[in-house]
Symmetry: C2
Subunit: 297 residues, 2 copies
């Protein structure tokens, strides 16, 4: 079975499963595992790996609208080169500092493949889940999409330093906190915008009508098919930004009349990309397929 | 560098590192990664793996004297067979139920080798760390040592059901809570009694004088060199129980006059195995080497 079917099974067994992070009292907690083959392309520095792995967990905390408080990690590798371990920990410390959390330690594990497990913690009395969207609201995203797709292009092109810069993102913790009073449903875009919309739609029992021109795509992302001309290139960029995943922006729903007030609280752009509808997920009126980043397919 | 040297490096970088679990406010948090090659012998069921992996994290919470509140896990495998995933989650749910915690969800990861990452959370206003032991106190252990060594023997002998039973342990959360008012230093025995004593000695700046006859060894553990006669067999059992590790009992120090009162609060035996001294770690008057379970050697 693929990852989503297996996750549905887990959801049947575990009452609390199904959001970006789990909730225990007022604490939100999330755990992630990343590894070299699928998550860290050749050229990824250990500093970037530490930043990105811990950042991915902090992003899940952000998606709950929680204040990030702390993180821990396990560094699994065939050997523990001191420079590598130190770089990883410095990346973890720095991404935590970026969002006001504390990196409070970690463990090491002897592992054939470089593999990292990370946990982040947050606090909120009222977590924002995926199931609160209502028709008539708008759907919005923070920042711009396509950063990780652009990073992979840069790794492939040998632009290693630029690729590492792109791979280190700011987890949207401050934005999540600013949004939590108004967002009715929220998650991060780590599976891609398309899949995020489908997951919010399913959890909330709603649909989405998204305007392609409104979707913010990072200027760092180039089309993969530039020879096809400017129009095709633009479509290609949008498609990649919407489906590639591994980005860590927030996708949320909120009342249209709350947008301006929320923007005043935010440290990043918040772009309305469409409306919450009764059912169906469309992009420019056409059905947007539920494609994106799924393990195990 | 080996795991301990690398952990010392992490400790230099991360102020909060160095105990069984990290502390964020009144929350204790721990993360562990286990994998098939080194942690789950052939014959380990997925149910046992879920129990044991989450149990190992709960043991770290117990070692801080915290109430266990919740746990999460990542199930990494080359495929997500529904029976395997369900069995794993049921093991995780059951070990949490055993200690009054809630298993609140998990994630899946596509991974060549069966690999599990787990996090457990606990709450306590006054965590018991490793650095509070003083000369004149006694050192004690909960339960009996050697259970995991016995399990490995049983796996090797093809006694799979017995091996799985031995591999599923009760995390000493209730004992940790009962001890926290009196224990001056505490950790779990996952690296083996010998190494635990050395770690407590180093953190507290003390020594230990342990009596071999007092060390509780599970009746499940047989000597590996039975042909050498009863005396040698007994020594061999003690040595294996003290150095094998991968057990999850608590090793703690406390004032001698508190032992009886604490026993009245405990749901498991608490055995005094020796005294806290000024320096050195000895077993029956001989230096006990710092050997046990260390990754990366």
């Amino acid at each position: 079975m693929d990852e989503r079917a297996a996750l549905a099974l887990v959801g049947d067994l575990v009452d609390a499963a199904g959001d970006d992070a789990a909730v225990v009292g007022s604490t939100v907690v999330t755990i992630d595992m990343l590894h070299e083959t699928t998550d860290f392309p050749a050229g990824t520095t250990r500093y970037t790996a530490g930043w990105r792995a811990v950042g991915a967990s902090l992003s899940d905390v952000a998606a709950m609208g929680a204040d990030a408080t702390g993180a821990v990690g396990v560094y699994g590798a065939p050997d523990f080169e001191s420079g590598d371990v130190e770089a990883f920990v410095r990346g973890a410390l720095d991404v935590c500092e970026r969002v006001g959390a504390e990196y409070v330690g970690g463990d090491l594990d002897d592992h054939d493949e470089f593999t990292v497990a990370t946990t982040a913690l947050g606090e909120t009395a009222a977590p924002v889940t995926r199931d609160g969207a209502s028709p008539g609201e708008v759907v919005a995203v923070t920042g711009a999409l396509g950063r990780s797709a652009a990073a992979l292009d840069a790794f492939a092109a040998g632009e290693t330093e630029r690729a590492n810069d792109l791979f280190r993102f700011t987890p949207r913790v401050a934005a999540g906190v600013a949004l939590r009073g108004n967002a009715t449903a929220m998650m991060d875009s780590s599976d891609g915008l398309a899949r995020s919309l489908h997951q919010l739609a399913e959890a909330s029992g709603v649909g989405f009508a998204v305007e392609g021109d409104a979707v913010p795509v990072t200027g760092e992302l180039r089309g993969s098919d530039a020879a096809a001309g400017a129009g095709a290139d633009s479509d290609d960029r949008l498609w990649r930004a919407a489906t590639f995943g591994e980005d860590f922006e927030l996708v949320c729903t909120l009342p249209a009349d709350a947008v301006e007030a929320v923007r005043g609280l935010l440290d990043v752009p918040l772009t309305v990309v469409g409306d919450v509808t009764e059912s169906g997920v469309t992009l420019d009126g056409e059905e947007l397929p539920d494609v994106g980043y799924t393990h195990g397919e």
